[in-house]
Symmetry: C2
Subunit: 372 residues, 2 copies
C-alpha cells in the first residue's frame, strides 16, 4: 500500500472556518479518486491529508489539480528509528537522481517533538549518509535540485524525494456559486478557472453563435471539469441570435449599429443574472481584460454593466494577454480556444470604443420605448 | 553618451492604437527621467524606444518601473561592421561574467536585412569569438546564464549583455481614470497598482480611521507614485467616522450591529462613486479577494455592491493571499502595510458572513425611512 502526502496552505486558512475547509478538501479528494476509478483511503493528520492507495502513480496527476492543495508527495512510511529514516533518505535520493553533479538537501520536520533527534540532527545525519552513498553536492538553499523531506509523526516517519505542485486556492464548494460566461475564446475559461480556484462552484453559460464556437466552449468546459472535483459543471447553452437579434435589428434600423457589442454584452449579462437567480448564484464571471482590445475600455465596461443586478466578477481585468495565455496553457484550454472559428455575425464595421453614458441611456430608452 | 534600449510587448499592442500607445510611452519615459532629475533624449526606432543619456546607471531602475515596457538594456552602439560587432560582443560577455563555468548564448536580430551577415551567422561568429577569448559553455536555450544581444539597425548596431525586466502592461494614461480605495492594509495598494499596470490613472481615496492607518495609506500611495510616471497621484482623505458614524449608530440602536461592515463598505463605495463622477473616473477599484477573510463571501459582495452606480473592479478577487503578498513585496508596499495599527473602532463582535439580500433590503429601507 502506498501513501501520498497532501499539503494545504496554512495561509489559506486564515479567517476561514478550518473544519469546513478540511472537511470539503477531504470530500473533494475522495471525489477526485472516484472520478478516476481509483481506490484510496483519505485521512487527516496535523496540517496534512494522507491518501493510502495501491495506485500512487495514477493518482498523482489528478490529485495535483485539486484546489486548496499547494503540493503533494508520494511518501515512504518507515519506523520511527533514525537508522531506518537515514536508509530511506538515501533510497529516495537515489531514486531522485542525486549523484556527483546533482545538488541536494534534507529537510526534516518533527510533528512529534519527543523523537530523540532534532530536525537539524536528522538533516545532518541523513545528508552525510547520502554524501557517502551517492556523492552529490549539499545545497541548503532553495536552489537544491533535490529536496529530501522527512516528517516524524507519532505513529511513524514519512520520507519523500518528490514534491508535485498543486494550484493552491480554496477547496471547491467553499466559495459559493457563480454563473460564468464561457465563449470559444481564450479568456473566459481562464476567468472561470480562477473563480473555481477560490472555491466557487461554476454554472457555465454559453451563448451559441455557431457550431464550431459552441463546440470549443463545451470542450473547454469539459477541460475545466478536470479541476472541479466536488462540483459538476452542467453547461447551459442558449441561442445568442434569439436573445440579441431583435435588439441588433432595431439598432440597425436606427443607424446605430456601432452600439451592437455594448447592447449585446449587456443583454448576455442580464440573461446570466436571471440564470444566477434561478440557480442560487450570487455573481456573474466574465473574462474582460482592460484594454486588451480597442473596445475593452472603462467607458464600455460602465455601459455594459449598466443596471446589471448582480456583481460582475472580472478576475482577468488587470492581467496582460501574455499572463492570461500562460494560465490557459497551464490549465490546458489554450489549444481548444485557438481552434479556428467563424467570427461573430453581428460585429459592426466600427464598434464604439468609448460610448458616452448619456448617449447610451437615451438610446436604451428609445429601444425600450419601442417595445412597449 | 550612453544608450538604453526599451522594449515594449508587441502583444500589448493588439487592438490598441499603436501610435497612441507609443506616444504615451515616450511621454511617460520623459516624465520618469524628469522626475528623477535625469537628462536624456527619447526616440522611437522600430519596435523599440531608445534613451540617450549620460546617466545610464541612474536611469535604469526608475525606467524599469514604467508600465508598457517589458524589459530594458543598456547598450553599446558600434559601427555596422562584423568585426566591430564581434569585438563588442566579447567585451559585453566579459562584463557579464562569462567564463569557464558560465553558460552564454548570442542572439542577433536584424532590423536591417541588407546587412551582409544573417542572424545565425552573427550568432555563430560572435559565439566562437567569446569561446576563444573567455571560455564559457554555449547554451542556446533560455537557461543560458548570459544572453548577449545584437540588434543591427540601419544607422548602427547595438550590443548588450544585460536585460532588466519591466512590469509590462499598458502605458499610464491609456486606460482612463479610476478611483481606488486605499486603506492601510496589504491588498488595496496592490489592487490599485494592478489597474495602474493596465494604464489607468488612479485617484486614491482614503477613508481615515486613525492617524497611524492614514499614514500607512499615504506612505503606500507615495510608493505607488513611483510607478505612476505621466499621472500624479493626488490622494483624497475623508473622515470615515463622519461618513459612516450615523448609520452605525442607527444599526446599534436597532440591535443590528452585525451588519456594520456591510453598510460601511457600501457607504464608502457610494462616496467613491460620487468622487468618480466629480473627477471623470468610470470605475471604482477595491482590494477584495474572495474568501480571504470570513466576511469576504459572495453573499456579502452582493450586498456591498447593491445599488452602487459605477462598475467595481476587483483585480485581486481570485488571487491567493500568498500571490497578493508576493506582488506587495515586489512593488515595495508590503513593509508599510504590515506596520502595526489600531483596528477599526466600528468592528462588531460578530460580523455577518452571509447576509441575505432580502434582510439587507428590509434593513436598508428601515434606515432610509428613518432619515426621511
Amino acid at each position: 500500500m502506498g501513501i501520498i502526502l497532501l499539503r494545504y496552505g496554512e495561509m489559506a486558512l486564515k479567517g476561514q472556518n478550518r473544519n469546513e475547509f478540511v472537511r470539503r478538501l477531504r470530500q473533494n479528494v475522495r471525489a477526485c479518486l472516484k472520478a478516476h476509478g481509483l481506490r484510496g483511503e483519505v485521512s487527516s493528520t496535523g496540517q496534512r491529508l494522507l491518501v493510502q492507495t495501491e495506485q500512487v502513480e495514477e493518482a498523482l496527476e489528478p490529485l495535483s489539480r485539486i484546489f486548496g492543495l499547494v503540493s503533494l508527495s508520494p511518501v515512504a512510511q518507515v519506523e520511527r528509528d533514525i537508522e531506518a529514516i537515514i536508509a530511506e533518505c538515501v533510497r529516495q535520493a537515489e531514486q531522485a537522481g542525486v549523484g556527483p553533479e546533482v545538488s541536494y538537501r534534507v529537510q526534516a520536520r518533527r510533528a512529534d517533538k519527543s523523537f530523540p533527534f532534532t530536525s537539524p540532527q536528522i538533516n545532518r545525519l541523513a545528508g552525510e549518509a547520502i554524501q557517502r552513498a551517492l556523492g552529490g553536492k549539499v545545497d541548503l538553499s532553495e536552489r537544491a535540485a533535490v529536496t529530501i523531506g522527512v516528517e516524524v509523526r507519532h505513529e511513524a516517519a514519512l520520507v519523500y524525494g518528490r514534491v508535485i505542485s498543486a494550484p493552491g486556492g480554496l477547496p471547491m464548494g467553499t466559495g459559493g456559486r457563480v454563473v460564468a460566461l464561457i465563449s470559444g475564446g481564450i479568456d473566459s475559461p481562464v476567468a472561470a478557472w480562477m473563480m473555481m480556484k477560490r472555491g466557487c462552484g461554476v454554472i457555465p453559460v454559453h451563448f451559441a453563435q455557431n457550431e464550431e464556437e459552441t463546440q470549443k466552449a463545451l470542450d473547454n468546459i469539459a477541460l475545466l471539469g478536470r479541476y472541479s472535483y466536488g462540483w459538476t459543471l452542467h453547461p447551459r447553452v442558449l441561442d445568442q441570435h434569439e436573445l440579441i437579434g431583435p435588439t441588433i435589428e432595431r439598432l440597425r434600423a436606427l443607424g446605430e449599429e456601432r452600439w451592437s457589442c455594448i447592447f449585446c454584452k449587456r443583454l448576455l449579462l442580464l440573461k446570466a443574472c436571471e440564470i444566477a437567480e434561478e440557480v442560487g448564484a450570487r455573481a456573474v464571471v466574465m473574462g474582460d481584460s482592460l484594454g486588451q482590445v480597442a473596445s475593452q475600455t472603462l467607458a464600455n465596461l460602465e455601459l455594459i454593466s449598466y443596471g446589471v443586478p448582480k456583481p460582475i466578477l472580472r478576475p482577468l481585468i488587470a492581467l496582460d494577454k501574455a499572463e492570461i495565455v500562460a494560465i490557459a496553457r497551464r490549465i490546458g484550454t489554450f489549444e481548444v480556444s485557438t481552434r479556428s472559428e467563424r467570427g461573430c455575425a453581428f460585429l459592426p464595421a466600427h464598434p464604439l470604443t468609448r460610448g458616452s453614458l448619456q448617449a447610451f441611456r437615451e438610446l436604451l430608452s428609445r429601444l425600450e420605448g419601442e417595445t412597449k
